[in-house]
Amino acid sequence: MLGTFGLILFFNELVRLIWGPAGMNLPLPPYLSGSIEILPDVYYPVYRIAIIAAALAVALLLYLVVMRTRVGMLIRAGASNREMVGALGINIQLLYTFVFGVGAALAGLAGLIEAPILTAQIGMGENILIVALVVIIIGGIGSIRGAFMAAIFVGLADTVGRAFLPELFRLVMTPAAASALAPALSSMLIYLLMAIVLVLRPQGLFPVDRK
């Protein structure tokens, strides 16, 4: 884990060498940059809908590959007993390299999806790590289904918290106290959720069976 932190430093400097210290913009094509009316008088950016569709497509594809194909079967087998799969004549090292590469590509996909909204810049990845960790802990370490459910749960909790907590607090306390407390609490909300999950179900909401 510490070694992979070293990789972060390495990649930050490598990107600085190749692309320079300034960030890069990724302009959207015209067909993705408009808004459409999803409800009467409610407009929503097309690109955000494309993000939701892409995320669901990735989730479905990942599920199908891991659960319904031979490669997925080998990945699951390798995760539970690496030596045994190797002994059965599978090149488990090559498989691991490939799985690691796919993981990297999926992270890269997330980055390229975010690039038009934020900009591509050095250190952009560190911000997502802590949220990703929260999602993994809440979902249960090693559980793909758990990660999927927890990601929706954490995303909703974070957004709804930021949107509605200030209003909610204004009902029960003075506006000054509410405007001081609400932003603090809403940015803490997902970590509070993680703490509650850790107390009640330390193995996460959707733990993997390890028999």
Binding site: G3, N12, F98, G101, A104, A107, L109, G125
Partner: protein
């Protein structure tokens, strides 16, 4: 696998930079995005071959007593 991979943050960044570069080069968002995905896949596999494999081999003896997962 039992590896907490913090380098995903880096792949996220690298994917964004590749996408910005390839989209600018090809002029097509979808084509640039697909090239960026392929390039990030290759970077990930190279990192596994060069660094992760050796890290795991070097640390397994210390960490295998930790609860797996």
């Amino acid at each position: 696998m039992d590896l907490v991979n913090l380098a995903h943050g880096s792949f996220y960044m690298v994917g964004a930079y590749f996408a910005a570069t390839f989209v600018a080069l090809t002029g097509s968002f979808v084509l640039g995005a697909m090239l960026a995905l392929a390039a990030t896949l290759l970077v990930g596999m190279a990192v596994e071959l060069i660094a992760i494999r050796k890290l795991m081999a070097a640390t397994t003896s210390i960490t295998c007593s930790a609860p797996s997962g």
